[in-house]
Amino acid sequence: MNTRRLKNLVANKLMLLTTVLSSLIVLIIAVTLFQRSTLILTTHSLSELLLSSSWHPWKGEFGFHPFIMGTLWVTALAMVLAIPPSLLMSIYLAEYAPTRVRGIIKPMIDLLAGIPSVVYGLWGVLLVVPLIRDYVAPLAGATTTGYTVLAGGVVLAIMVYPIIISISEEVIRAVPQQVREASMALGATKWQTVKHVVTRSAFPGIIAAVMLGFGRAFGETMAVLMVVGNVPLTPSSLFDPAYPLPALIANNYGEMMSIPLYDSALMLAALFLLLIVLVFSVVASILLVGIKRRLAVG
């Protein structure tokens, strides 16, 4: 009797401890980064760091604006390219596809998710970049080296979509069969059922899948860095090169960590990246709570 209760208590507290500790890690990372970036924060004003476009570390000019904009451009493009096809695909796999087709396609998508990002990057350099330079850009009347926001977005979209498909397909399949049967019984077609009933109850889960995709897109470094051009100028079109924050850190950290101010600037870049992802997921969680509440009422 007592040992049973004790076991329950121990299990409870142990799980609490691990949960608290692992959530503390985010805090520890943030504090460390903040501490390491104090040097640059004390010598430069925040508005200058955020709004200036002049990146000349050796002249003491650290403008992060092009990098922040580069991150947003590439991520936004990747999501625009990835979300619609991956949703259609996950609906197809969950609702329409025969078991055999699903059995073949699902493992292939999971395999895509497991490919190392440097492989995607190489593939981007060998295929996507020349394709954009020789065919896509001339169509749009632009001349470019091919190392562009577009190349980064395409490669990133391909990396993100297995994640979105995998999760949203599971979510859609988890919708109870009775819901579908009820809809069909009312005379709705399969498409009407999918559109009005299934996706509606799977919606919060699909949003969560998209969020996970965004998380990867923001932070993905190697593949993007290899195709995006890395020019520290704010992009103004899809055919401009961009320079996202993770690329800035990866490109310079090993070489520049012996120069204190430069090191500190790179730490600040990491902090910015963390904050962007944090703000984004907080906003998304709030939205998600709202959606769930509305669905429960409706």
Partner: protein, 318 residues
């Protein structure tokens, strides 16, 4: 019977190896571990040196890791490693923190273009001068291949490529043009192989590479698909015979050695430590500067001239 024989043989072998081991360790009294980290540019050379040194002194263990010049410098200044490898000049901030360095070997950065460049023949015959490179890489006022070779009717745009990662090669190239890496124009591509790939795929492209990546190690010819741009050192508008050494690796290595190829973009590669090299690390660096130089050429690098070696040895001992 047979078993006994095997046993005896085994004992003999064990005893013999002990004797040999003791003999070897008493003749080669150097013992211990040397840790090395830093620049990618120096890594293959250092691995070769470490191998050879450990053959002579089997009780010395040398651990080499790469991770960039800044990492080598930071590790050395924090005494996390005995020797840091640095492929660029030493910055004042680092000297203030007690950086001590010796040059051990040279290599060079060379400009490269696509083998199907629209004005390839003109470029090969006339060369490209430093001021033209400055126009392309720094000011951006030279934008077509026609401008490069003085044939205004050719309007193919120059696609300028540079390294995205901070590196000794880019720093050296910028230094040749009188600037810093951050001032170089162009699309940033990651790593030496990435830059080769970018130029190979773009007939209007121009880039720059360490000679190790611009020439094949086995055939000692230029890498397929790219051509090394001859530099018009005396700016007379043509490549003279003494400026013509780009066809094969051995010729350019010789030109770097005797100074016909300008420096920069030829550069010294350094080993650094905090304050001074001491003990085993010092012995190793001394060996690198003396006997170690014989492996330099086969690893694809360029030896320092003799007076420079002596200067570095004096600095090491001083």
């Amino acid at each position: 019977m047979n078993k006994k024989f095997v046993l005896v043989a085994l004992v003999v072998v064990v005893i013999a190896s002990f004797v040999v081991y003791n003999y070897v360790s008493s003749t080669n009294e150097l013992k211990g571990t040397i840790t090395v980290s830093g620049a990618w540019a120096l890594y293959p050379m250092m691995v070769k040196w470490a191998e050879e040194y450990q053959k002579i002194y089997p009780n010395v263990e040398i651990e080499v890791s790469a991770g960039g010049a800044g990492k080598g410098m930071t590790d050395a200044l924090n005494r996390a490693v005995d020797i840091g490898m640095v492929s660029r000049g030493i910055y004042p901030e680092e000297i203030a923190n007690g950086a001590f360095w010796v040059a051990v070997v040279k290599d060079a950065v060379v400009p490269t273009i696509n083998k199907d460049n629209p004005v390839l023949e003109d470029v090969m015959a006339k060369g490209v001068s430093r001021s033209t490179f400055i126009g392309i890489y720094i000011y951006g006022n030279i934008t077509t291949w026609g401008q490069v070779v003085g044939r205004p009717e050719i309007t193919d745009a120059i696609n300028v490529f540079t390294r995205s990662d901070s590196c000794g090669a880019a720093e050296t190239w910028a230094n040749y043009l009188g600037k810093k890496q951050e001032d170089l124009r162009g699309t940033g591509v990651y790593g030496d192989p990435g830059l080769v790939e970018a130029v190979r795929n773009d007939r209007s492209g121009i880039g720059y590479n360490n000679i190790g990546y611009a020439y094949e190690t086995e055939t000692r010819q230029q890498v397929d698909g790219i051509r090394v741009v001859p530099i018009d050192v005396n700016e007379n508008g043509q490549i003279d015979t003494e400026e013509d050494f780009y066809n094969a690796k051995d010729k350019i290595v010789e030109a770097i050695g005797n100074g016909l190829y300008p420096s920069p973009p030829a550069r010294n590669l350094h080993l650094v430590t905090k304050d001074k090299f001491t003990g085993l690390a010092k012995e190793f660096v001394k060996w690198i500067l003396t006997d170690g130089q014989e492996y330099v050429e086969e690893a694809g690098y360029v030896s320092l001239p003799e007076d420079a070696i002596n200067e570095q040895l004096e600095k090491l001992n001083g």
